[in-house]
Symmetry: C2
């Protein structure tokens, strides 16, 4: 019987970022099951003496301590959403573009691969670096490894600027929208459906809510020069007691994605205005993050990478840095529209672009 | 250890119908668990030589065979919906009315009690009698004991007229509405809710269906002199994939209660007209029954019992007799609005009225 040590999958940090992506993806690490990939990463980093590695559960923090004037955090999560027959990875060419296909290629092991390669190679960057690879990003917020680190070891997160490697097609995306979930509830009175007039149908009453949703025109809001597109959508509806009973309750769960000009209170106030008179309970909220592109390090990063910054629509952990007062942007390979998709795949040239962009900036800044 | 025989609960057919109701109710017989009550009834009937008793599973058929010109079926089910802390029974007085309170008192052991008492006592009625007590009325149609008898032993159901003892406040209720369930489905396209504009929200699309339901004016339709009130109601709605996904499907389950002027085809055609353009699948249908009050025996019964016949709104097993070409009415003690209720209770004077009505007719007809 082999020992645990001998069965640990190898990650070769001397290989290309593309090859490291493949190695990382082929280690299954659905949220809650990040132990093996974390062990493998820790083992791969062990030889590099310029990195001071700290482990907290299945999160790893690898820091340089050169005493530079500024410190940058570069972070990525190691977990993925569940598989759906999309591992092991494979290389494919589609319309002349080479892809690495499989779960995690976009969200976000290509970004982690680039980070690992640069963590190993950039022993002497112009800024001090704090690399973070963490667990449980794809599940409930209270399990999030970055949130746990921020609570347990806040000193490890201290920095002047942060980059999160979430997929952005290797373009810089600033800030993120906030997200709020509310339950809208209608009530009625049960009755046998053979004598419906004795009851009050709560599902019929929900027509007013769906009418509002169907007619709602989501706004586009400019924040610090970037335009954030909002969204207001039912993500679930449920009601019904039995096939012969007039239902006395119907619940519509609505997800509001709101621009980072607003905090949770303003977002809730907007929903209470939109659904005036409807029973509304906020069940979940994460505020967004302003783009943070006015920070000097962000300006330099933008100049080094080139291109134009865009807004990030999805909520990401940049908001956690934002909440700590650290300007943060998203920057990573992969098309975010393919994240979580069954045909998740990353264009390999984006992996190389991301590596070049980060390397160029870290060597000059 | 007592033998099975010795633990069989006793039903005393010399007692009053009210007392027999209490005895029957205190024998739990939720659908599928009618063995004990059926054994007890069979045992109570055994001494009466004018009855020829046949058992089929947990259904009993007790027939007189005097060679009369006409035969009447009088039937009732012995099962109840599940208990909810409402057994054993108790007597209560409310606003000067005496009630027997508990599961099954209304639906429909008071009716069965009256039937058992008359089956025992009317050894020489003017018509031949076929008493039927059957199982599994409160569950899926394919388990129904009367349906099973109709398939296994159709000759036992032959009759000129049928009375079903379902609760009608001891008034004659003719026929019954039909019932049809359909699933109305909207489809869309999944997307991450952070980029909702990439998807199509199927729950929002269901607003058109709920608008139709909320605005629908159910009809009242006269059939053979009785006015049947229809109903069209959502009894369930479901949709949603996850809290951050634009849903690609929403299903509204609708129950249509239709007057007995229509068969299944006409009912479906009406729904296809009301929900024109919506994906509609019929999942369940039971046609209603015309009142059957023009049959000579029905007219005599009406005259003997007195009062005015009313329409039955809920679907009942009279439709099974109707389908066999046997005119059938509902007639039993208890307020149908209290059937299945947690505070199910029967006004005891209705039990006596029902017994008097049936006895008067059977002795004269």
């Amino acid at each position: 019987m082999p020992t645990a040590e001998s069965t640990l999958p190898a990650i070769d940090l001397a290989a290309s970022s593309i090859e490291i992506t493949r190695q990382l993806c082929d280690i299954e690490s659905v949220s809650g099951d990040e132990r093996t990939i974390t062990d493998a990463i820790a083992s791969a980093l062990a030889p590099f003496e310029h990195l001071e590695v700290t482990r907290d559960g299945d999160a790893l923090v690898a820091r340089t301590t050169h005493g530079r004037a500024r410190r940058v955090v570069i972070a990525g999560h190691t977990d993925t959403v569940p598989l759906n027959g999309n591992l092991p990875t494979r290389f494919e060419t589609e319309d002349g573009t080479d892809y690495l296909w499989g779960r995690g290629t976009v969200d976000m092991k290509a970004g982690v691969a680039v980070q690992l390669k640069l963590a190993a190679e950039l022993a002497d960057a112009a800024v001090d670096l704090t690399w973070i690879w963490y667990d449980n990003e794809e599940v409930a917020s209270d399990l999030n490894g970055l949130g746990r680190l921020a609570a347990n070891r806040p000193e490890l997160l201290a920095a002047d600027f942060a980059i999160l490697g979430e997929p952005t097609n290797s373009l810089i995306e600033g800030g993120c929208n906030g997200t709020m979930r509310v339950e809208l509830r209608t009530t009625g009175r049960r009755a046998h459906s053979a004598r419906a007039w004795v009851g009050i149908n709560a599902i019929h009453a929900a027509s007013a809510i769906l009418d509002i949703l169907a007619a709602y025109q989501p706004r586009s809001i400019e924040v610090d020069g970037l335009v954030y597109r909002e969204g207001l959508n039912a993500v679930a509806i449920s009601g019904g007691v039995a096939g012969n009973v007039i239902p006395d309750e119907c619940v519509v769960t609505v997800n509001y994605r709101f621009a980072p000009d607003k905090g949770a209170e303003e977002a809730e106030a907007h929903l209470r205005e939109v659904f005036a008179g409807v029973d509304l309970v906020v069940t979940d909220c994460a505020e967004g993050a302003r783009p943070g592109l006015d920070a000097p390090l962000a300006q330099q990063f933008l100049a080094a990478v080139g291109g134009e910054a865009k807004p990030k629509y999805g909520w990401t952990d940049v908001a956690r840095f934002s909440a700590l007062g650290i300007p943060a942007v998203n920057y990573g390979p992969g098309d975010p529209l393919l994240a979580h998709a069954d045909d998740e795949r990353v264009a390999v040239h984006q992996i190389m672009e991301c590596e070049r962009g980060l390397r160029a900036w870290l060597q000059q800044s």
